[in-house]
Symmetry: C2
Subunit: 153 residues, 2 copies
DNA sequence: ATACCTGCAAATGCTTTGCGGATGG
DNA sequence: CCATCCGCAAAGCATTTGCAGGTAT
């Protein structure tokens, strides 16, 4: 764990002009400890508070911007008002997200898209999509039965 | 045009307990005039100002909430900070959205998903997705050549 | 009559910014 | 040494809400 943080940090320093500070190290630790989740700035803030020292919200935002630009994390906006971040693991299979409109639950899925979709979109539309950037909204198992559908033409 | 607005209004009144006001009529007109676009509250506000009377922003938001709940419009969050609305046309083929991360352009696509995906997700994940709710982020033709990709592990 | 709607101002809540002081390389 | 970063307070900005008066049905 500690090692992985340092690996990333060394790589960052090597390839970029950014500096390594205690705050950024701690943020990276928290991100790695939660690498299977989608975590918000608020949650990172709380977790830093539970550890020794608290990292102020603006500092976290600034760190997230840099980590995103350098490809260490992926920023997601699932429409619930909080940006969500996930640690990027190149080893992990490309996945996409199902988002429940009611409870906000995120379900990860793989193998959803046709194999040739990337090339098809590139050729037909000139559009080059990002891995993991696909989102589908709807309702999860638990929420399906709690719905009302008032009016439709 | 006028007719279509009135049809919708009559249908709304019939099936719901909501009231038809001049403001809501005007908003519906604007939505229909822009039925091929994705339009923001701010744009609706500007367009109402160009017509005879100006509809205040909070009134527009409240109308949009109701129109969305009743299925007349679809609300979209493309991640640029503004909710975007499109008039729902049942005649139109189900479409999805490609969103350019750089310029914000929206490209509509159809026939993207495998036919059986809806049932597969329902059975495998218990997830019931909304038609038209799929989004893929990436870069459009025009923006692809203006990019930099700094660091990747 | 009365439940619903409007319009103004003010509040919300996530995110960003300005700036003086601190610090990594 | 000095460019970058931190931390605090304050600002930004889309969206929401309270409330008093208005309107549709």
């Amino acid at each position: 764990m500690k090692l992985e943080v340092n690996d990333i940090i060394n790589s960052l320093v090597e390839h970029n002009e950014l500096r390594i500070t205690d705050q950024r190290k701690k943020i990276l630790e928290i991100l790695i400890e939660n690498k299977d989740k989608h975590i918000s700035v608020e949650e990172i803030y709380s977790l830093s508070k539970q550890k020794d020292n608290t990292i102020p919200i603006p500092t976290i935002y600034r760190a997230m911007d840099i980590l995103e630009k350098t490809g260490v994390i992926i920023k997601n906006d699932f429409g619930d008002g909080f940006a969500k971040y996930e640690f990027f693991m190149k080893e992990k299979e490309t996945h996409h997200h199902l988002i429940c409109r009611k409870c906000g639950k995120i379900i990860e899925i793989t193998g959803l898209l046709p194999e040739d979709l990337y090339n098809r979109l590139l050729q037909e539309k000139g559009f080059q999509y990002e891995a993991q950037s696909l989102k589908i909204y709807g309702y999860c198992k638990e929420c399906i039965n709690k719905l009302r559908k008032p009016y439709s033409r």
